[in-house]
């Protein structure tokens, strides 16, 4: 039988370099399904990414025009791309270290400006590629390579932050929730304005082994058993939600998109209004 999704990948790079059971591969797989089902021509997509394992999803694997940028700067580059090519789907896929850590400021302000990017943040709770250093999303109970005696920092709730900053669409799902995540990816790509999905993902090599979950499936079963829908958590105390993955759509709203706003101003000058 023919593997009909391989045509979306750079064939010469396969099989992937991802570790056995890595969630990045599931995100890549779902992304191919979404592009296929939405009948989007890959020529109309520009993917932009930073540095990390999850940054390998668009570069080298997904075959479209791609900018593989410096660590943390994917959204800054993508902003420029979207302003010059507003008709294209500009899609950023990168990690928690990249987008929430070193690139956190770009993320907040892109959401505030509501620029029409689609951002998939693959949150594996760690700097995976470099061997398991603490990230801004690492739970405070987890010892890492840079916090071997305990992590005194509190993790940041990145989806809530992006929602508060003003994005048009924000959701959180895990790599276990493939059907929900696929639907959310379609909504995010179709939505006008800044759309963002935090994808909780497994990293058996750099994270799972630190929490007693050495295989990809162990973390997937944790996602399955400990996820709660956002609609069912209102009124619950923080300690009751410890160790839970709160999944679902956080916001969907219509706000003026950044490039539309710019074009409106340009049009006023073109018509000689001012």
């Amino acid at each position: 039988m023919e593997n009909k999704y391989v045509k979306y990948l750079r064939n010469e790079t396969l099989p992937t370099e991802f570790c056995v059971g890595c969630g990045c591969g599931t995100v890549l797989n779902l992304f191919c399904h979404v592009i296929d089902e939405m009948q989007i021509n890959p020529d109309d997509i520009i993917t932009v990414t930073g540095i990390g394992c999850s940054s390998w999803i668009p570069s080298p694997y997904f075959s479209a025009d791609t900018l593989h940028t410096t660590h943390g700067r994917a959204i800054a580059f993508a902003t420029g791309v979207k302003v010059m090519k507003p008709g294209k789907h500009v899609i950023v896929i990168a990690g928690d270290g990249d987008l929430a850590g070193i690139g956190g400021n770009h993320l907040i302000h892109a959401a505030r400006r509501n620029i029409g990017l689609t951002v998939f943040l693959v949150n594996n709770y760690i700097y995976g590629m470099t061997g398991g250093q603490v990230s801004p999303t690492t739970p405070s109970t987890v010892n890492t390579a840079t916090t071997p005696y305990g992590n005194v920092e509190q993790p940041m709730q990145i989806a809530e932050l992006v929602a508060a900053a003003g994005a048009s669409y924000v959701a959180r799902w895990t790599t276990y929730h493939v059907f929900h995540l696929k639907k959310a990816m379609k909504e995010a790509i179709s939505k006008k304005g800044f759309s963002f999905i935090e994808i909780c993902s497994q990293c058996p090599t750099s994270y799972g082994k630190r929490v007693g979950k050495r295989e990809g499936i162990d973390q997937l079963l944790d996602f399955k058993e400990n996820s709660m829908n956002i609609q069912n958590v209102s009124g619950m105390r923080e300690d009751e939600l410890e160790g839970k993955y709160i999944v679902g759509k956080l916001v969907e709203r219509n706000r003026l998109e950044f490039v539309d706003g710019l074009l409106n101003i340009n049009a006023q000058f073109a018509e000689g209004v001012r």
Partner: protein, 82 residues
């Protein structure tokens, strides 16, 4: 009245599979079994040995981190009584 019977075929792409066994464990109908034979890439590629149990939910194809599970549904002309 009736619905069309579906024929389901499943194949694992030996070039891509790395034997993580996520499909084996998450399939609710136990369609896959873990292979006892190592392949030329050094992985134990699962075998879809109980295809007749498959309900076509697609979780194996969608969750596979290597895009290695290929599932095809074809509608047959026979009708199944409701």
């Amino acid at each position: 009245m009736g619905i069309k019977r579906k024929k389901i075929e499943i194949e694992i792409d030996e070039r891509l599979c790395k034997g993580c066994d996520i499909c084996v464990i998450l399939c609710s109908e136990k369609v896959f079994t873990i292979s006892k034979k190592i392949n030329s890439n050094g992985y134990y590629v699962p075998i879809p040995s109980n295809i007749e149990n498959c309900n076509g939910c697609l979780i194996c194809e969608l969750i596979c981190p290597e895009l290695a599970v290929i599932l095809e549904k074809t509608e047959l002309d026979e009708l199944v009584a409701l």
